[in-house]
Symmetry: D2
């Protein structure tokens, strides 16, 4: 079998001539070599390599979901790949500490040579955002208008084509929405659930009312928040209410998908739900890690520049902080704890249901 | 010398009977043992142990600065202790991932037994905040009023007494302000500096004006931000302007302290400034790590509860997110990059100045 | 429901009077307060708290396997708990960096007061080792004899009782060995496998023989190693050979368990094997993290003491380095790559087999 | 000033066409695309980028020490750069976890295409080792002979030229050895020190003799180790004894350098020793992190291949484990705790000495 394999050498295989020959310092070009510019370049190149890897994983996952049916074995590998994505994200977050070993003053020694380069020009990062589900309609204004202006024609076409394709968010939403679970139950889960949540919400209200520590102003605020939670619950049981909340931006998942996800989270210990539960949890973590990355990145930019403008000609860290929360994609999974009931308030899945879903190793 | 030392045994030394006997599960008490409550208790106890250690270090540092003069050797150990604080903070940030191995549903199985306990009741955490410099006047309203209501009389007295003592922020401010550097220079640093900054600011303005990517709305915003930066610079050179900005909350350090810190950062490679520079950098990092902790903590609470109210009877994660930015203490150090000049725009320290400050190893 | 729940307060709930009152510095007792002794105590107390948590998780997992049959839902929670164990281990490994912020000289300032305390006296750590499967017969001599001498009668009885109970290793071995997979296949997997491995081994031999970089001495060594791998393979197919290798310490899992584990690893993407595969992988990681902990711990002790003797009266780091490799429990899982075939050399599981094992989400 | 700067764009600046076009999968070339080969390539490329950065820092540090005299300001930047090296090493260690998200079976799906590529062919890694001080004479046999055989003529020349240049170890040794401290003391430090160590060693001996937990065999071993420590101490005071121990490989630093380093560590809190102490500590950490990397790397290879041979045609993990300890460069710094005395046993530096060394900030 190995007969026709040509020998493969380390340096050639990794294209080290390209990789290690790609650090051209601007400061050297202009005759004022700045020691730290090497770090600046290498850190960004490493980020771009990780972005490439993340896209490799996400695209494979998207291809899997972009089929009429997802086979069980494929779900195993989807979860495996998303776990890898999370691991890489954690490393990328820690990598911000490496950049912070450059002092603001060291940065100043070559900053002027970089105008108008800017991290906003990273096409791969935008591909990541769009592939996950951060399409144009969800972006804040700055992003919506200004971002596309800065691109070359080729890059703009590339990203605009990607905007047309289904994102991971959309595909997972559809996959959840078409899950048969909700229709085939022979037991009336949602009736049961409704009663249990009523009890829980009433308990919460009582806790607020009895809380001796709250001032009257605070109590009014808490009761208002409680009322809003109560309305979100109503949305679960009423399709029209849900659609209204969706239009107000209080949800992003479709009604059916949210209910499926909730059901899976409630019965996550059932082996048949193990992989779907891991999938939902992994997407939650990816969103959390990306949020953390934005936050740390914004702090790092602030530390490096203060309120000075960035090389791209705009004050980066205000913008970056704004997008930290607004650019979240899988926030509904993150907020789902709102709707969860404790195990003890849940009906056991009847044996017939279990048997139709489950498998037995022994 | 060792003659009179009594034997010391591992378990006794660490008081393991106390430490390992201090996990009383509420869920067990009420006859519904919840496996994850052990994790919940242990994670919080570990945090409290680290808080104790952080206070041990900070109090030692505060004692050092709370003297008429700080000796050089003491500065070595101050920096050493602050570096330890940072290391512990990083571990504490990572520890949030341990809590997140508990699913929201697992938390629900014992949440009801914990009312009205709340992390806001951690006295040590408040001691940390106050010791660093987050005194009552800097807290947001919720903190100001409601927090003290929740305390026992003893705890309230304890914290109120601490509010009266000088915080690390105040002591470092005074120490910087009384540094002799600024007065003894025989060269006119600040004149030089003013000219160089004028040039830098004019360059920045030009960059904004020429930036073809900006819409008119954006350009106006950028120029407004630039104007505000320009005004902050004016504050550096005019004591009254500075005081006005201080009163608006744009600065927190005294004018003299800010100038000293800026001088130290500009000439940080001079050995005589090495320890002061490390001190300033360490305080910046402590603030950054604490900010990160607040942010991750707020996300974790959101993930665990959604918009449900917390056991303390208030919706935690909104409040927590609010304090993430507002509770920063050493923000002036963090923002100091605003005022830094590149090495190449700085005058060399004259040999006479160097000699008066420096020392020579060989 | 909440009616009868008594109020619960943060400090009481966490028993902070005990936890925060448990730091008694020996150096203070002897009138020579050493600042760093607080760190030394707190770091060890935190380790003991984590040990308690690890034992809580491991004991729950052991109870699960210590039944006639393990239900599917239980496997979900076993894997969940082992993942938590790994997360805590990673934090514990990073925590060594905190101890290393204490310089050797700082340690010397209170070391003499600690004689003869020693980390070897941590009962919880020994419980962890024994529960995982590091029973007396597997310990190196120092551990075997000397360790038990150092214990109080109560502690010795406690550990000796634990030695009699089945360890996690033994229980997992039995669970794997009784898996029905190997007997019910209607396709002759192991015949297929044997042929494929022959081909792979022959390829490997050829690679060694053709490797122009090897000196003759090296080539002989490589071929000897290859021969030993070849013999291990023979053990897979012959029960007596396997028993002989087991007695030589080349394997520790029973023959049946090893084959089951191998089968699971080969077809890990099958949903029915997903949880067992995660279990095997998690145990491998637990072993890896514990090994890493031993190694880092040994280096830390060396850095703190050099070749000085420890407070327990023996030179710690030699002993610690020795146990790093010898105390591994799940090494067979770790080494299992030896026997794996690439996907492309494996027969597809026939549809009938799959159907008997699998479940279909849609 | 900015007038003549050409615009600089993100993608061009980072040479993303090269960086992102450098992933050529062998498995794709042979028509059997293996998803994980992308990860394998990217992880190695990221390592090579970090190696480049580490070399950039180390070479700058070597250049600094490769002068007749090292200026104080330069020492600040040496320490800064070494701290960056350590931060990058920590990230590199964590990155091993990313590679471990590839299962052994996934690796098998493209391993055969990589023969005879091997990580041993990384020229940059060898440059790192040689630059630090791991020259040919210190390598174990396999490395000595076989390694150079595998190189191309160009690479061999490159490394052989590097072997001729002074390494960081050699330069730091010389810098320490020529420090004036040891000769100019007007107080008899080493006499004092000798008396204090005698007392400490006698105490240690007594501790061993009185340790009731030791068996006779163990006690004999401990006393033998103590004797060897005693002899190392003798080396400190006698140049000929030291040379003999050096020749036996018990030390690697020159006698003068070891004494200087010891003096610095004893009085590390003196501001004048702050930077040299940080330098020594940083080199210790670099060695520790590299050791940890070797160890984790060896475990990862074992987990991926078991006892199978590597693609380079030799069984990697045995070799890798062997080099973990043997390839340490700054081991003398690591072991220096052996010779340290507690602060309380040290004479205070006389005011005259302090004044000649120190500087006063206020």
């Amino acid at each position: 079998m190995k007969k026709n394999i040509e020998p493969c050498y380390y340096g050639d295989y990794l294209a080290l001539d390209k990789i290690l020959g790609a650090q051209k310092l601007q400061s050297t070009k202009y005759g004022e070599p700045a020691h730290e510019e090497m770090l600046f370049i290498v850190v960004h190149q490493v980020y771009e390599l990780w972005f490439k890897q993340l896209l490799h994983e996400l695209n494979a996952v998207i291809d899997t979901f972009n089929q009429a049916a997802v086979k069980d074995q494929q779900l195993t590998s989807v979860v495996h790949r998303l776990h890898r994505v999370i691991q890489i994200q954690k490393l990328m977050n820690d990598q911000i500490g490496i950049m912070e070993t450059m002092t603001p003053q060291q940065f100043l020694s070559f900053r002027d040579y970089l105008v108008p380069a800017s991290g906003f020009q990273s096409i791969q990062f935008k591909q990541l955002e769009i592939s996950l589900g951060l399409k144009r309609e969800y972006r804040i204004d700055f992003d919506k208008q200004s971002f596309y202006n800065r691109l070359s024609d080729d890059d703009r076409s590339l990203l605009e084509a990607l905007e047309e394709k289904p994102s991971l968010f959309e595909l997972v939403d559809k996959w959840l929405a078409r899950m048969p679970l909700l229709k085939t139950e022979d037991f009336h889960f949602w009736d049961y659930y409704r009663n249990a949540t009523d009890e829980m919400l009433n308990d919460d209200k009582e806790t607020i009312e009895k809380n001796a520590f709250l001032s009257e102003v605070e109590r009014r605020q808490e009761l208002k928040d409680w009322q809003s939670t109560r309305e979100n619950f109503d949305g679960l049981f009423n399709h029209d209410t849900y659609e209204a909340l969706l239009n107000q931006g209080k949800f992003r998942l479709s009604h059916e998908a949210l209910l499926s996800a909730l059901f899976i989270k409630q019965y996550s210990e059932e082996p048949v739900f193990n992989l779907p539960f891991q999938l939902i949890t992994a997407l939650t973590e990816i969103d959390e890690q990306l949020t953390l990355w934005r936050y740390r990145h914004a702090m790092m930019v602030q530390r490096m520049l203060g309120t000075k403008i960035g090389t791209g000609g705009s004050s980066g860290h205000h913008y970056l902080k704004k997008t930290t929360e607004s650019n979240r994609v899988f926030l509904d999974f993150f907020n789902m704890a709102t709707f969860l009931l404790p195990k003890s308030s849940l009906p056991e899945l009847p044996e017939s249901v279990k048997r139709s879903l489950g498998f037995y190793l022994q």
